[in-house]
Subunit: 281 residues, 2 copies
DNA sequence: TAAATAGTGTCTCTAAGACAATATCTC
DNA sequence: GAGATATTGTCTTAGAGACACTATTTA
């Protein structure tokens, strides 16, 4: 007969303990990858417009086969959630981002038809060069989709519209803002619009977080290559926040965080811009 | 013989799919509960000093028996993580906080001696009245500990000291700041000082988050009862941030967020203060 | 040379901080 | 009346926004 727990040593307790006797959920990691993509130029001397985009992959297997979904997959037993996020992103999109930020768990009991699966989601950000790198790789069914998130209506609903221009794909989903805690907005999916699982909810939440952080300057640098122009950096913040800024004021505020280099842009149909790098902290 | 997955319908696929064939971790929820506690008054007319405190329970069973730990427990299959956090807090401390905020997952492979267990942690905040309510309930081995978090040394280490004055308990743990992402600091445990598992890490992370948010005014109201004085509110922010503010300036900034009531404090040994409530958004 | 962006200088306005002064209660 | 906090008013200063103006490149 087994000793009562109170009389065991910790070593004896652990010897007899088997976690797998208890029911427990499965764990996946999903990654919302943001990048700023350029759109078609209007004429030779005007800089290109930019859009905030996220990366989706087309699901090849069940469930939700053929639908667009966030990259991600099941946690393995020998890796942390963060390691899992890096691995899945590498395997499914060949991206290796510098920035990976946990954005919390999605744990609705019925969020996946396969059973009880909790998604621990991450936000990653890739720079312009990596945005273009993916575009050239057509092996994987991974595509950038521009994100357009409407204002919330009186009842809290908002439209999340994802577009891939080259392939003429439009995903129109609808979410409802349910509550805000610590400045973080939570949403429910009203109409997935063809996105797999509850990924519309995850994307809407991630979008809110990125918007919130975009007022801090630090996050902006994650969207940029090592060398960048101040107007490029400004355009990223404008894109993230959906606003327009005056160059003079933006420069003044950003200057303490960057260092000038000897290099500059050329051939842009207008005055060249000096290239800057992020100042080391 | 079983059909290949490609030829199945989604319904057929789901019929044959069994999540539990795959290894998967166990999931717990741990809650870092913050409250502002009063300390002994110095004389009849001086207001009491305040300290930021967290709630710990003494573990009754293995592992880490007898050590102090965060309230929490295993996720059940029919509840979300947030529901689990509310349930565990109610069961273990009888508290029902209004504020519960996800603060992410802790997923180091070896963080629990029982095996692979991921902690999804939450921050909760309770107001003065609930802080006192617990003090009177000695059924559970739950106690408030004041939190003192030192400045980081050059090598990133900092001391996290938890104290319960009545029982003369001091828990001195040491953590090292490893990285910062999106303004969120991550720590490693250097010396747990007697705290169970990696709870020193979780507490240090939670403390950083609360400090960060304490500059926004919204969070302050979670620490307050329905009616409060402006100087009480000010003292909470001063306690959270470890700073001193000038009353005139604090009032000016907070006024748009509160409404005056007809009530006021009495018998405090000095001029009475009007009671305010949070203004509805 | 026109059209576009790059970059500088300066004015105004707002909000935060410092601080002086007055008000009101209890012992 | 002394000692504490409550409350109001005002001066100064730092920073954000607006905007005018100059500089530099390429088709």
């Amino acid at each position: 007969m087994q000793k009562a727990e109170q009389n065991m040593t910790e070593a004896e307790f652990l010897q007899n303990y088997d976690l797998t006797r208890y029911p427990r959920p499965s764990i996946t990691v999903d990654i919302v990858t943001f990048g700023v993509t350029g759109e078609a130029e209007r004429n030779y001397r005007q800089d290109e417009k930019k859009s905030l985009s996220i990366l989706l992959i087309k699901r090849g297997g069940h469930p939700c086969r053929g639908m667009w979904a966030l990259p991600g997959g099941f946690l393995q037993m020998d890796e942390t959630l963060e390691e899992c996020a890096y691995r899945e992103l590498r395997e499914e999109t060949d991206l290796r981002p510098d920035t990976l930020m946990p954005m919390g768990a999605f744990s609705q009991v019925d969020r996946d038809p396969r059973g009880r699966i909790i998604s621990n989601s991450y936000i990653s950000i890739v720079d312009e060069e990596n945005v273009r790198a993916l575009a050239g790789d057509d092996a994987a069914e991974a595509k950038w989709f521009t994100v357009q998130f409407s204002e919330e209506a009186d009842d809290g609903t908002a439209e999340l519209i994802l577009r891939n221009a080259e392939s003429d794909i439009v995903i129109a989903s609808k979410v409802r803002h349910s509550k805000t805690q610590f400045g973080r907005k939570e949403y429910e999916v009203v109409d997935s619009g063809g996105l797999a699982f509850d990924h519309a909810k995850i994307i809407a939440t991630a979008f809110g977080i990125v918007r919130k952080y975009a007022t801090d300057f630090d996050i902006l640098f994650d969207f940029m290559p090592a060398l960048f122009t101040l107007s490029g950096l400004q355009k990223v913040q404008e894109t993230l926040l959906g606003i327009t800024l005056l160059p003079a004021n933006f420069r003044r505020k950003i200057m303490p965080l960057v260092e000038e280099t000897d290099l500059s842009t050329h051939g842009a149909g207008h005055r060249p811009a000096k290239l800057y790098r992020q100042k080391a902290v």
